[in-house]
Symmetry: C2
Subunit: 616 residues, 2 copies
């Protein structure tokens, strides 16, 4: 039944051949790779305003200057990344570029930082999507966190099913959103031109404008840049000529980010809005200023919610893939590199869902609180990736290397400064968490690698040693112990099996009192076998320690080098919930016994039906 539920939830297993995905051209690739970067339009301006509002009316003019700075950053990154695309046609994620050119530590750092940011992308995008929804339908407000969790669950299930198949369907929200925002920009500017001014809300100057506040606003604005690296990871997913297509998409993406983000920031300057006013997001306030309560308003709302979900979905394909590459290199637990039934990296998908759901619960789905942790990770990976490219040019000295190195070097320099700015300006707002977690991840990743390497070394046997090994010769005697609780179908089956694998079999029983002991001895005697029965006393029927004591005792006469096989029956039940009712002490016994290298545990399945007898 558990199986059937799983099937219903994630679908039938897929064959490996299905792995070859459809490749996309410019028209379909753009929206899929752009949703992360574009969707931040729905919260980036607001989070900047939220900081600036503290200084009162001046805020709205400052917003414009900061937005211009961020647009400059976009342009720089676009051209820097185009160089990455051309150099890494097989996909140049920050992890790979940094590892290849700057060494393992840089690669692992980029990987850790990016992983953290992917998880935050899900948390921020889903929270912001629900915030837009709640702004439009305030009666949903009490259920904000719940709705977020349901959406994450749906994203998880969708991705476990292997959601990529319907990539074209997923492109529509991005185009719908682009059309929505562009219409809003046009209508907004027009309305403003024809003189329909809205009185700006009066704001007292609460504190003097300071550099710190400007940097904080700038840091929040940087969240608009997350996701811009997506194209460079995805070069091999493009149709041929893939490099050229990817470059075109990168340029278009840059243009769109500038248009939408700059446009929305400028609209919040034209239509002075107040973050959090009436519990509505700035984006909703602007849309409602411009479109009132018309269908267009709901269209804008709907498309923004959808593109935010698409952004979360982008992270859902990015994170598991990144972690699987890291796991393949031995820096993360191996199970992250295994594909599930539906060929998706199920473990990565589940881990990501749990982490982002926890973040949403801890931060109460509050975008402003989550944004404190956001963007720093992605800028760390920008810096490392650009620095890696810079080193590459410095070493290769190929045609035009000076120009190329200058561009990537400048990119690394600027994004590095942004990392410092974000860490400094948002340290108290939560950046400190990331500043702690990224090194912790790096530490763990290096430990994992060390462990896997140590094991590989221990397991390795050189060719000359293989030839010296003699398997056929018997190196030791196999002894068998069959723990039995009573003479029943299971113990008889185990004793029979024991007989086929060894001449030296002992049945072992733990009784709680003298009466029980007599009873089992009497019944065992009836079996009329030469197998010895050992009975030990232990209240509460603890098995492991009496058994281990017996093995060590002179009575058993164990000799070093011999292997002892202990046979434990395991109930195999038909209904999944029946497994709750069995095998718990068995698992415990097995775990304890396997701590001894001379003990092998043989698990004997015991099929249970509802009304059938197991042996005759």
């Amino acid at each position: 039944m558990r199986m059937r539920f799983k099937r219903w939830l994630v679908g039938r297993p897929l064959r490996n051949e299905k792995l070859h995905e459809e490749k996309f051209n410019v028209f379909w690739g753009l929206p899929i790779l752009a949703s992360d970067a574009l969707s931040s339009v729905a919260y980036a301006s607001e989070e900047m305003l939220l900081v600036l509002v503290a200084v009162g009316m001046l805020a709205y003019s400052q917003l414009t200057y900061i937005s211009v700075g961020i647009i400059g950053l976009v342009i720089l990154l676009i051209f820097s990344y185009i160089q990455t695309i051309q150099t890494y046609p097989n996909g140049g994620g920050a992890y790979i570029v940094a590892k290849e050119n700057l060494g393992v530590l840089a690669g692992v750092t980029a990987g850790a930082a990016l992983s953290v940011d992917y998880i935050l992308t899900v948390a921020v995008s889903v929270s912001s999507g629900v915030a837009q929804l709640v702004s439009a339908f305030p009666s949903l407000a009490p259920y904000t966190v719940l709705i977020c969790l349901i959406l994450i669950a749906l994203l998880m299930i969708g991705n476990l099913r292997g959601i990529k198949e319907s990539a074209k369907l997923f492109s529509l929200p991005a185009y719908a959103f682009i059309i929505a925002v562009v219409s809003m920009l046009i209508a907004g500017f027009f309305k403003f031109q024809v003189g329909e001014r809205i009185t700006p809300p009066t704001l007292a100057s609460l504190e003097p404008i300071s550099l710190f506040i400007l940097l904080k606003a700038f840091s929040n604005g940087c969240s608009a840049l997350t996701g811009i690296e997506a194209v460079s990871n995805a070069v091999p997913s493009f149709k041929e000529p893939s490099v050229k297509n990817a470059r075109t998409v990168m340029l278009l993406l840059g243009g769109l980010v500038i248009l939408l983000f700059g446009g929305v920031s400028f609209l919040s300057f034209l239509y002075p809005v107040l973050p959090g006013f009436e519990g509505k997001t700035v984006f909703v306030q602007i849309a409602s200023h411009i479109f009132g309560n018309s269908p267009m308003f709901y269209y804008v709302m709907g498309s923004s919610v959808l593109i935010l979900l698409m952004a979360a979905n982008t992270a859902y394909s990015g994170f598991p893939l990144l972690v699987s590459v890291i796991a393949n290199d031995g820096y993360a637990p191996r199970q992250f590199s295994m594909r599930g039934d539906r060929l998706s990296f199920s473990n990565g998908i589940i881990a990501m869902s749990i982490c982002s759901a926890l973040l949403i619960m801890v931060f109460n789905a509050n975008v402003s609180h989550l944004i404190g942790l956001y963007a720093i990770g992605v800028f760390i990976s920008f810096t490392l990736s650009q620095a890696g490219m810079f080193m590459k040019w410095m070493r290769s000295k190929e045609t035009n290397w000076r120009w190329k190195a200058a561009l990537n070097g400048f990119g690394a320099f600027v994004t590095g400064i942004v990392v410092v700015i974000i860490a400094f300006a948002k340290f108290e707002e939560g950046a400190w968490i990331v500043v702690l977690i990224v090194p912790l991840c790096i530490y763990l990743m290096l430990k994992v690698k060390k462990h896997y390497s140590a094991i590989a070394k221990q397991l390795r046997v050189e060719d000359e040693d293989i030839q010296k090994i003699n398997i056929t010769e018997q190196h030791y005697v196999n002894r068998v112990i069959v723990p039995i609780q009573s003479i029943n179908a299971a113990s008889i089956r185990a004793l029979r099996y024991a007989r086929t694998i060894s001449e030296n079999v002992v049945a072992f029983n733990v009784s709680i009192d003298e009466e029980e002991r007599r009873k089992i001895e009497r019944k065992f005697h009836m079996l009329n076998t030469d197998i010895r029965l050992i009975v030990k006393y232990s209240p509460y029927r603890k098995v492991v320690s009496p058994l281990l004591r017996f093995i060590k005792s002179n009575e058993y006469n164990y000799e070093k080098g011999e292997v002892i096989t202990v046979i434990l029956p395991q109930f195999v039940v038909r209904k999944w919930w029946h497994s709750i009712l069995h095998n718990h002490s068995r698992l415990f016994i097995q775990r304890e016994l396997l701590k001894h290298k001379h003990i092998v545990v043989a698990t004997m399945p015991l099929q249970l039906k509802d009304d059938e007898i197991i042996i005759k």
Copy 2:
């Protein structure tokens, strides 16, 4: 390390002999068994008022009448239960009394209802304790749920450690609370007499008083009666003469409940208080009216928080014990009947903690919301227990049976009516959840029993059959398959072991391509053994289905009746977190193979160190 953490958390394992607890006399027994019943003083009156307040000023006089009704119920229950104590000197929990006299279904019903109520006792008591705390220190308000969860975690750890040892220490809060409330009563009446009246808050009559509202208030007041059955469960824990001591404690407990509950209800009539006024509990409001901000106020507060925690702690000893008795009878999963390292029923304790923590999270630690679910369970068990006693007298017809039957019969009748009242009056407030969950529990308990019985039947072998069985004769041939991924220390060890248990050994490899196949064949050839190597192709190295296909194939030539042993190495790691890095595919393979009754899985431990070589 996980082991060490566990040791630190729950302490060293205890020897079985430690199980004999200290028995208590009247003076120490009273406070331990009374805390559940007495602590409800801190919320019962408030929850009654909360309902009555809707009808305005009339509320406060109604409160007195309802309290008198509840006091009558207390007296009836005390005398009914004294009969149970005398008849069941070995402890007469509702489960046992109902099962013995009314049959399995009644027993299981009482057990399920009581279990649900134990869990609610924890949730309500902890929530109310924290509500008192937050009333006194309002700055803690945002952390209400968190504090509740921390307290539940502490209760869980304490009980896993086997908290009973310090029973005397635990009696102090109850006495401290009794002294606190009695002083409050004296001071309160005195202050009232000398004429210091407080103007009652003016309340508009919002709706006419109705029978429904009175019944709802009465139902909430019934929460004061939960825990009154504790004494009858604990008779064997008293010093001799245990029955007499238990009866004395029962009488004292009844007197105290009447004094404290009646007194506090009357105080809320004298000092008109408003539930929820300034976010303070009624109990805190009364205490602050009477004692102002003096040390006495904080003493009352502190003792009420402590006794509420003691009440939760009482449930922590009641629930695991009850469930262990039920599990011993086969109506609950067996692991509930096993004692942990510290001789406490760890699984019951953990299950209870999880359930009550979930309740607190879902209901946001709101006592008024939780109270809707409360009390109905305990009244179901009251009814069944009294009805069981009634049947007992009707059957035994011993001296004075008419009087005894009349008392218990009347008790059953009255508490049965209360069940109906609560179910009816609080249906919408949450009683419906309990009305659904109790039958669900009963259904599951019966299913569990059915399953265990079916299994016992399948495993049973009659004596005459035992004699017919011949174990010594070999019934089948044992074949061995050793799945190997490469020729390494682990696979060589497995092949050697395989050799000792069978002559028919096959090595089985899954390769992802032709090149891999050639490599493993070359290396295997070097081993120079007569063991056959089978190589199958599977991308992503899925092992199970190629292996099962191979077993079924003509190539393997498996004959019905033979047993196949598959040897799987298991990494045994030193550091607990290393286990995350291993054995996951092994567990999956084992689970799939064991679905086939002719396959035994032998698990071979592979000790991994950081720098040592496993085999020579």
